[in-house]
Amino acid sequence: MITAGIDIGSATTKAVIVNQELKMLGFSVMPTGANNRETAETVFSAALDRSTLERERIQTLYTTGYGRENIPFADKHITEITCHAMGIHALFPDAKTIIDIGGQDTKGIEIDPQGKVINFVMNDKCAAGTGRFLDVMARALGMNVDDLARLSAESTKVIKISSMCTVFAESEVVSLVAKGALASDIVKGIHEAVAERSTIMLKRLKVKRPIAMSGGVAQNKGLVQSLESKLEAPIDIPEHPQIIGAFGAAVLAQMAKRA
């Protein structure tokens, strides 16, 4: 039995094809853009191509993410909170706490031994501390967001970024550049600021180990190190953290078929 999950996020759309052993047969990621229906169709086709499967082989398709309700060919839509919980549980069955930093929000999720959500917290004020925050800071430094992790590793001292507002933090970074601060130290400071904000939010939950992380920002090793240091605990990162929501949706579709 083959199922699929599509996660239509604020920044990127992800599709994953899964078999009954919960093995990923193929996946695809692309920017969401202005038309999330078209993007979902395209990313789904790309995932099918990579899995070398025909569309007819997909028995059930679940959608998740902000655009989940806009996809007409879905069998069901489930929130990304539930999907990330199940996606992480399928890969790290012992995980009790999940950090998910996506394009425009950060979530902390507490799960039970079956992967069911017990409690969750989510940023509700602004996008500070999310993937978007890192995009803006990278732009202010004139670099690509993918360069942040590498630069952060070269840092010899942390420069504190005190503004938590994205706009003010950007001004602060520009000022630091003008003063001649090293880009690597500024980047480390940015990671520390994001980690600080995420940790404060997470502490509204009962943070229990093991901790796992999903979402595109988990690909940034520098940020993960800052988070591990603040939480004083190691964090498990999946091989492809960006697609965990879509993977969780496909896993939930498998579970529904089995029930």
Binding site: Y66, E69, A74, D75, K76, H77, I78, T79, E80, I81, T82, D105, K116, V117, I118, N119, F120, M122, D124, L252, A256, A259
Partner: protein
């Protein structure tokens, strides 16, 4: 569209038509007011003794701020980080929505209302703006003090509106308001047993209409609605849905209610100012009416501005049991310090009893509704499961 259902029309259609009629009392109130030859006076707090205003020959009505959900001008006069409900209400006044009214009555219920009174009193000296002081504690002395406040209030009304206070008129007004309270309590009892056949959105519309100032029309239509519900409830089995209690600050976010209902859950009771907090209890009609008003308004367990958290918490725990509630949804408008301080204490107490609590803090006009929808549905998925979350 026919707005007056004929007797004999069956079932839900009749109930829906009557609810629609009641809702129109609120929606059309500005036009309906033109037909009533009484001075109109607005109010902002459920602690306003409307009975005194009615006895003074005035028409008291609730200012909702709903005509101006995104205030702009109000920020010129008050900080933008104050209660969004009060800012919307001030915006309505600044935009002339309430120009027909003789004035506005305030109660010292919170800082935001107090500041709005200060602004209007300072910038508009032509109308009657009055603030009633109201204790945060309930003692024999605070009741005596409040009674004195009511007497001073009556004297101010006598002076401004040229009427002579009469105990008989006040008794009559109290009876009319008590009738509203009885009718709404009866409605909520039907909702508790699942026999009312109405949604939370409809219940909110009904309570708003009860505050619209058109009391006689409201009481008449409510009596007819309850008669229909009685007939209907005898014919149908109650629905078995996941039951939520709504608590917290001022709330009229129908899109949030629709999100909850779309998932198959139902808000069975609203312990908010356009809900139970407005109409709970009744005023004693046997003794001195001012003593009775002081007793009623001070003894209300409802608002987070009162010091006695234990009393408020006990009431919510009672509602959870009485309404067989499965989860509590606590909503707070931004910057509502009273409710934001109450929430962690209440959450702890409810969790001790095994009642899950879900919290949303938002503006009056919710621009980020998609994120809030995700949080609501994720909570319901965790409590109800996701097997029924069909497209």
């Amino acid at each position: 569209m026919r707005l007056t259902p004929v007797p004999g029309e069956k079932g839900a259609a009749m109930v829906d038509a009557l609810i629609h009629e009641i809702d129109l009392l609120n929606k059309n109130r500005w036009n309906l007011f033109k037909e009533i030859q009484k001075p109109k006076i607005g109010w902002l707090s459920i602690y306003t003794p409307e009975e005194i205003l009615d006895a003074a020959g005035l028409l008291p009505y609730h200012i909702t701020g709903e005509d101006r959900p995104n205030p702009q001008k109000a920020s010129t006069y008050m900080h933008s980080n104050l209660c969004p409900y009060v800012l919307s209400s001030l915006e309505e006044v600044l935009d002339g929505v309430h120009d027909f009214a003789e004035g506005i009555i305030f109660v010292n219920a919170c800082d935001a209302r107090r500041r709005m009174y200060d602004v209007l009193k300072h910038f508009d000296r032509s109308r009657f703006f009055y603030i009633l002081d109201f204790s945060k504690v309930v003692t024999i002395n605070s009741k005596k003090y409040y009674r004195q406040q009511l007497q001073t209030f009556i004297q101010a009304l006598e002076k401004s509106f040229h009427f002579r206070f009469s105990v008989d008129a006040l008794h009559e007004s109290i009876q009319s308001w008590n009738e509203t309270r009885h009718l709404l309590c009866e409605l909520y009892e039907y909702r508790r047993t699942g026999n009312a056949g109405m949604t939370c959105s409809q219940a909110l519309k009904i309570v708003k209409a009860s505050m619209s100032g058109l009391r006689e029309a409201f009481n008449n239509k409510m009596s007819r609605l309850l008669d229909e519900i009685k007939i209907k409830s005898a014919l149908k089995n109650p629905e078995n849905k996941y039951r939520l209690l709504l608590c917290g600050s001022y709330f009229d976010h129908l899109d949030i209610v629709e999100t909850i209902e779309s998932y198959g859950a139902e808000i069975i009771c609203e312990n908010i100012s356009i809900g139970l907090k407005y109409f709970e209890g009744e005023i004693d009609t046997t003794g001195d009416p001012l003593d009775a008003l002081a007793d009623y308004y001070l003894e209300k367990a409802s608002c987070a501005r009162m010091i006695d958290f234990e009393k408020r918490c006990k009431k919510i725990l009672h509602l959870v049991e009485h309404y067989q509630i499965q989860s509590v949804f606590f909503f707070s408008l931004k910057f509502c310090d009273n409710n934001l301080l109450d929430f962690p204490l209440l959450k702890e107490r409810l969790n001790e009893k095994g009642i899950p609590v879900f919290f949303i803090e938002a503006e009056r006009s919710i621009e980020n509704i998609e994120q809030i929808k995700t949080r609501i549905i994720a909570f319901l998925e965790s409590q109800m499961g996701y097997s029924d979350a069909n497209v």
